[in-house]
Amino acid sequence: MSRTVIEVSDVSMRFRMNSDKIMSLKEFVTTAMRGKLQYQEFTALDHVSFTVKRGETLGLIGRNGAGKSTMLKIISGILKPTEGNVVCCGNVVPMLELGSGFDFDLTGRENIFLNGAILGYSEDFLNAKYDEIVEFSELGNFIETPIRNYSSGMLARLAFSVATMVQPEVLIVDEILAVGDAAFQEKSKRRMLELMGGGTTVLFVSHSLSQVREMCGRVVWLEYGRVKMGGEAQEVCDAYEGG
């Protein structure tokens, strides 16, 4: 329980923002010639530090635009921070937003392999776990139909099943627990708890405070890119609700 899995030390992320994004060469040249290539600095994260230990479930809460998603992207390696660094041991599996790793022309089966490969699973592992994934997603015979025919609930179930089938060292969950019907939500919650029991570190972003209270041990409250408060889940949630 004591090994540090994620260490975020003094991370700052600044974006250079043009007043309007320059997307074409012509625009770039013309604005550059007029000397109007000015950038506004936008600080998404400002010297944020925290650590997450193995097996912990850390909740990130905060208003829209507080920097939660940016933080997750930096931890999963998609963004490089402007300053500071993040040390992350083990493989990070982000739970994709619905369907972003899917190809809609492929069947459910093909998508399990494609999405699994994207999440970094090995082929043997997917072969071994394939039946389990299908069973958990409750898709039955639909697994052989192209997923463009799926309902959104079916897609979400498939995505969740693929993402949680491993024992990833770090699982990143960005507001997607509310998928499927009530029964599946219950099932996915159980699955999450199972994973946490098995030593997976979970980073959990949600606007639903009741979920956060239920799932998380510790919570970090971000506001305007700074850590406003960090500590026990109940305590921070109470403060957040109060503020």
Binding site: F15, R16, K21, M23, S24, L25, K26, F28, K73, S76, G77, I78, L79, K80, V92, P94, L96, E97, S100, G101, D103, D105, L106, E110, F113, L114, A117, I118, L119, G120, S122, E123
Partner: protein, 466 residues
């Protein structure tokens, strides 16, 4: 493993290239000058002598061009090649004057190439033992040209100008003669490289090579999945499916064949195969680079959510085009067989140049995909550029129709070099000389290097612009 593979490749290459490894058309070859006058009517007793110095290492044949005064002639003409150092006769041949046509050639061929004539003064003597006035032919000459180190003598009188004669032969290629030394040196270098990597690894230091190999191992499954995804979805919901990869080049070839065959057919032997090789090769290039171009922008949804090395996206696009290329080689083989091309062993060498095209396309693809992220204009620019590129590459026309002034465009166009050598290997059944391999490899790797560098430098900023 690697060393054995290298050795096997080297030996295979040696056998496939064959004679072209050691010998190339001599740089000292002399072409026929344009004839503008006759010399003398070559009757019995007349002598036409042309002295010259050759820089051919292995002299193989000499041609002389004749005029007939547009009448039937009779008798015999005698061609002799003499070494002026000791006046020995190196080659001689007698030809029937009746068989000589206006502007025709008589050819003196050496049974075995004559060596040791480099920078040696030679004399070509043309005489006739029995031709009579009124029925004798005349060797042609060019009165304007001057021959360095040689002179023309007509019946003993020195004369201005040059006899219309051609000298052909081959030279040894230095790298070819030392092929095994080069091969051994390469093997040693490889061994040394492996040794260094192994040492670094033992010291616990990271090395680029090991990292790259590890990455390929790690992402092999992903790459395979992405390639099969591209391939499956490309023809999904079409009736003929992957058969289109096969049909497409064939149909393009038929259309272009009917359109252009009347114009270019006479200039190019086996026009259908010539055309198809061009279409298949260039189609691959445009498809691979075009798909790679949109690979980063098109996968924005994934890139902003999952971490994986970003070069995987352009790489898989190029690889799925390679699968396509593989399929479209089938009609190429079929058409070649149907039009009567014998596949010689050198056809296998065309695979080397196909590899060059693939690597070159990957480099271009990396460059374009990175540029596309920052400037969406890239796709439109590239559309126009690739069209221009297509027209300056001799795909459906022979390179000979380009005026001399524009030939430089071909020389700086890597696609031209790849294409021309593929054609040489398949259509002519001979291998280009060794330096061409080095040239093509350098062009391909150069493109990859530039593309990879630009990509590497800019990839961290991709996410911000997607």
């Amino acid at each position: 493993m690697l060393l054995l593979g290298y050795a096997a490749l080297i030996i295979l290459f040696y056998f496939l290239v064959g004679e072209q490894l050691h010998l190339r058309q001599s740089r000292g070859n002399r072409e026929l000058p344009a004839a503008d006058s006759g010399t003398v009517e070559l009757t019995a007793g007349s002598v036409v002598e042309q002295s010259f110095i050759t820089t051919i290492q292995r002299l193989e044949q000499i041609d002389v061009q004749w005029g007939t005064y547009y009448r039937p002639n009779a008798g015999t003409v005698l061609l002799e090649l003499m070494d002026l150092r000791d006046s020995s006769v190196l080659l001689s041949g007698a030809f029937d004057a009746a068989a000589i046509t206006e502007g025709g050639l008589t050819t003196l061929t050496a049974e075995e190439p004559i060596e040791g004539l480099y920078n040696v003064p030679l004399l070509l003597r043309i005489t006739s033992p029995d031709c009579a006035v009124g029925s004798a032919a005349s060797p042609l000459m060019n009165t304007q040209e001057k021959l360095e180190g040689g002179s023309l003598t007509l019946n003993g009188e020195p004369s201005e100008g040059v006899l219309c004669f051609a000298v052909k032969g081959t030279d040894y290629i230095w790298t070819g003669l030392h092929y095994w030394e080069f091969a051994a040196a390469g093997e040693l270098l490889l061994l040394a490289g492996l040794g260094v990597i192994w040492l670094r690894l033992r010291q616990g230091r990271r090395s680029y090579v090991v990292n790259a190999v590890a990455a390929v191992q790690k992402y092999r499954f992903l790459i395979r999945q992405l390639v099969s995804r591209d391939f499956k979805t490309k023809y999904k919901r079409s009736v003929l499916g992957m058969f289109w990869s096969f049909l497409n080049p064939l149909l393009t070839m038929f259309v272009q064949y009917f359109v252009f065959s009347t114009i270019f057919k006479s200039d190019i032997p086996n026009y259908p195969a010539y055309l198809l090789i061009g279409i298949v090769t260039f189609n691959f290039f445009t498809e691979a680079s075009g798909m790679a171009l949109s690979s980063i922008v098109g996968n924005a949804g994934l890139i902003t959510k999952v971490y994986m090395p970003k070069y995987i996206y352009p790489l898989t696009r190029v690889m799925s085009s390679v699968v396509n290329l593989g399929i479209s080689l089938i009609p190429l083989v079929l058409v070649s067989l149907a039009t009567g091309i014998e596949f010689r062993k050198s056809a296998v060498l065309s695979l080397f140049f196909f590899c060059c095209v693939i690597i070159f396309s990957l480099g271009v693809g990396l460059l374009l995909s990175a540029a596309m992220v920052f400037f969406r204009d890239t796709q439109f620019l590239w559309g126009v550029l690739s069209m221009i590129w297509m027209y300056v590459t001799p795909i459906f026309y022979p390179e000979s129709i380009l005026p001399e002034d524009f030939r430089f465009i071909l020389r700086v166009n890597p696609m031209y070099h790849f294409l021309q050598n593929i054609r040489l290997c398949i259509l002519n059944g001979i291998s280009p000389e060794p330096s061409v391999y080095v040239q093509c490899t350098l062009m391909a790797l150069g493109s990859l290097l530039i593309g990879a560098l630009v990509f590497q430098k800019s990839q961290d900023r991709f996410v911000l612009y997607l």
